[in-house]
């Protein structure tokens, strides 16, 4: 039995002509113990996917089976309880409560489990130790550095001992050094048996993942198992494609994605449909090629 199973999950917003598709019949199965990196340009549905898996959102169509139980259309209360017991969230903007100390922030999810204060604080303290911040127990978030703040947020995500950790761009607001710290921590948590799903724009960070999922236009475009410590094949392409964007392209709004090289050696796992956007991208590429020749 897989831990997470998404079956033809779609998420639509709006009505009639104004309908926009955030997720387009996504099928995704994640086994327990995986560490999945989700990549893709902004607006490709990464966050919606995260919200879906994290039970913050429910699909318009399709089924979500978590631990063998169908959870696509359960009540908000049951949804909240599953979030409380099985899922830990880490956000790009940390989302700590400014008027609570690090300890109180970490202990917060336990409040909703109904634990008494002493027990809450005890568990929270252990978690802070685990992320190496036991000497910052009574600091307020504004007194901590970005990396430390995110570590407190990780401790908060861990405090319920959840099976799944969902991190939506955990390093998005951090410098390289702090990013490394945070990712090392997530890597350790992964090793201790948690399933981690994280969103990132940085291909380097796929080194911490056992699987890379690439999303575009609300669908999974590419899905690959990787070895820990290695950058995913597809991610590497994106990584090396980065310098190809010129100032000219930026002005024209041409994204890195459109400049992926023609000589794809790796076959994508999902079928690619021809869309006007992609044709345009190809045209752009051939034009660039001609320019380069002349």
């Amino acid at each position: 039995m897989s831990l997470i199973e998404l079956k033809d999950v779609s998420k639509l917003y709006g009505f009639g002509d104004a309908t926009s598709v955030a997720l387009d019949e996504v099928n995704l199965t994640i086994e327990s113990g995986e560490c999945v990196a989700v990549m893709g340009p902004s607006g490709s549905g990464k966050s919606t996917l995260m919200n879906m898996i994290g039970l913050l959102d429910h699909p318009t169509h399709g089924d979500y089976v978590l631990n063998g139980k169908r959870v696509s259309h359960i009540s908000v209360t049951r949804r909240a309880k599953i979030r409380r017991d099985k899922i830990g969230f880490i956000f790009q903007s940390f989302n700590l409560l400014g008027r609570l100390t690090a300890l109180e922030n970490v202990a917060l999810p336990l409040l909703y489990k109904g634990f008494p204060t002493s027990k809450r604080n005890h568990i929270a303290r252990t978690m802070l130790e685990r992320v190496g911040l036991h000497d910052r127990t009574y600091y307020y978030p504004r007194q901590l550095s970005g990396g430390q703040t995110q570590c407190v947020a990780i401790a908060r995500a861990l405090v319920n001992s959840p099976e799944i950790i969902i991190a939506d761009e955990p390093t998005g607001n951090l410098d390289t050094e702090s990013s490394r710290l945070v990712m090392e921590l997530l890597g350790e948590i992964h090793k201790s048996g948690n399933t981690i799903i994280f969103v990132t724009h940085n291909p380097e960070l796929t080194r911490y993942a056992t699987r890379v999922v690439y999303m575009q236009d609300g669908a999974i475009k590419y899905d690959e198992q990787t070895k820990l410590g290695e950058v995913g094949t597809y991610a590497r392409k994106v990584m090396y494609a980065v310098p190809d964007t010129t100032e000219e392209d930026d002005l024209a709004g041409v994204s890195v994605l459109m400049k992926v090289r023609k000589d794809d050696t790796v076959k994508p796992s999902t079928k690619r449909k021809r869309t006007p956007a992609r044709r345009k991208a190809r045209l752009t590429r051939s034009e660039d090629g001609r320019k380069a020749q002349s």
Binding site: N51, V76, F89, N95, R99, L111, Y112
Partner: protein, 403 residues
């Protein structure tokens, strides 16, 4: 569950502490509403008791005989019938001879200037008989009431006029002139808290002279504005009243120009006043409590709007709608609870000060003192629940996006 609630109270206190000014202002609203309810009711009760005491003190065995027309304040006498009173000395003797009557006391308004140390141009001068004290039960501060055996012309003063008439603090034995005749002050009434039987006359401003002396002044027996009739024990007041009505109507040749008020009817005027007073008090109380509740709602709405992001986060990490709601309701509860308690203390202090420094004699109504805070808390929780519901129903994703 108790641990849960402890957690929420902690959260609520934290939230109150962080937005201190706002919480304080809201609390102030509750404090004022609770305190004003208790104080207003206490003042109302004080007035009730004073008026009620009067009614009780002047007894269930006193009938009132009046001309069939109300007193006119413009004529200055302040007594029923004004200067054109319709009762006379013969009515007095008719009354006295009616079976069941033990004492009949006439009250006559006499006009004239009173000259003591100071001159009072047109005071309320009441000519009456010594038995008045039997009916009023009003104690006399200094001296005594005039008696039938007084050799000199004596008078008794109301407390306020005694101060106005003489520069000296002890008016006893002082003399004043009325229509060229000298009167000696035999006594001064203690302050009347309310006019017995009638709301029109202020007995504290009245000069009481013997009926016989008035006869001397005027040359004839003065017209009578009002009679207090005390009935003999064992007689039914209503029957005596009916008999009296008959007797005087007969004496007036069948003209029904007087009324005899049995004991129950005497207070009718003040009863209505009391009723209105109670209604007013209740109205003020309801408005005050409502305002306190609306204040809470307002504050909670702001609090919710300010913390949309926080609510989103709390929901994301597993707070159920009910738990979010409970957090905000607990906050409303904490504010209204503390506010009510302070309001209670403030009201006690205010009532104490009023008793000390004003002539109002507020009486704490303990039922109200217990209920007002409870109702304020209930109103706070009720009005706090509306924004709390709003908070609880928020979509976590949108709330999280909100900064």
């Amino acid at each position: 569950m108790s641990s849960l609630r402890k957690g929420y109270l902690h959260l609520a206190m934290q939230s109150i502490r962080t937005s201190r000014t706002r919480s304080f202002m809201t609390m102030l609203g509750i404090v004022i509403s609770v305190a004003s309810v208790i104080v207003v009711v206490a003042i109302g009760q004080g007035v009730r008791q004073q008026i009620g005491n009067q009614a009780a003190r002047y007894g269930q065995d006193v009938l009132l005989v009046r001309p069939n027309q109300a007193g006119n304040e413009l004529t200055g006498s302040g007594l029923p019938g004004g200067t054109g009173a319709l009762l006379n000395a013969s009515d007095l003797s008719v009354t006295r001879s009616t079976p069941g009557v033990s004492v009949a006391v006439p009250l006559s308004a006499v006009t004239g200037q009173v000259r003591g140390d100071y001159t009072i141009p047109n005071p309320l001068i009441i000519a009456t008989t010594p038995q008045l004290t039997d009916i009023l039960h009003q104690s006399i501060d200094y001296g005594g009431f005039f008696t039938a055996s007084d050799t000199e012309q004596t008078a008794v003063l109301g407390a306020d006029i005694a101060n106005r008439l003489f520069s000296d603090n002890a008016p006893l034995g002082q003399k004043f002139t009325l229509r060229g005749q000298r009167f000696v002050v035999a006594g001064v009434f203690k302050q009347f808290t309310a006019a017995p039987f009638s709301l029109e006359a202020n007995y504290n401003q009245a000069v009481f002279i013997p009926y016989d002396a008035a006869q001397n002044l005027l040359g004839t027996a003065p017209q009578i504005n009002e009679m207090f009739v005390k009935i003999k024990p064992g007689n039914n007041p209503n029957e005596v009243a009916r008999a009296l009505q008959h007797a005087i109507t007969d004496a007036h040749g069948g003209t029904n120009d007087i009324v005899v008020l049995p004991p129950g009817a005497k207070g009718s005027n003040s009863d209505q006043t009391l009723h209105l007073l109670t209604l007013m008090t209740v109205g003020v109380a309801i408005i005050a409590l409502l305002l306190g509740g609306v204040g809470i709602m307002n504050m909670m709405l702001v609090s919710v709007a300010e913390r949309i992001h926080e609510i989103g986060l709390r929901k994301a990490i597993g707070a159920t709608d009910r738990q979010i709601m409970r957090q905000f309701v607990t906050e409303a509860f904490a504010i209204s609870f503390v506010g009510s308690f302070i309001g209670l203390l403030v009201s006690f202090a205010a009532i104490g000060l009023l008793r000390l420094y004003t002539s109002l004699q507020p009486v704490i109504v303990w039922e109200v003192a217990a209920l007002a805070p409870l109702i304020a808390i209930a109103a706070g929780v009720f009005f706090g629940a509306i924004p709390a519901m709003k908070a609880a129903r928020m979509d976590p994703i949108e709330a999280l996006r909100h900064e």
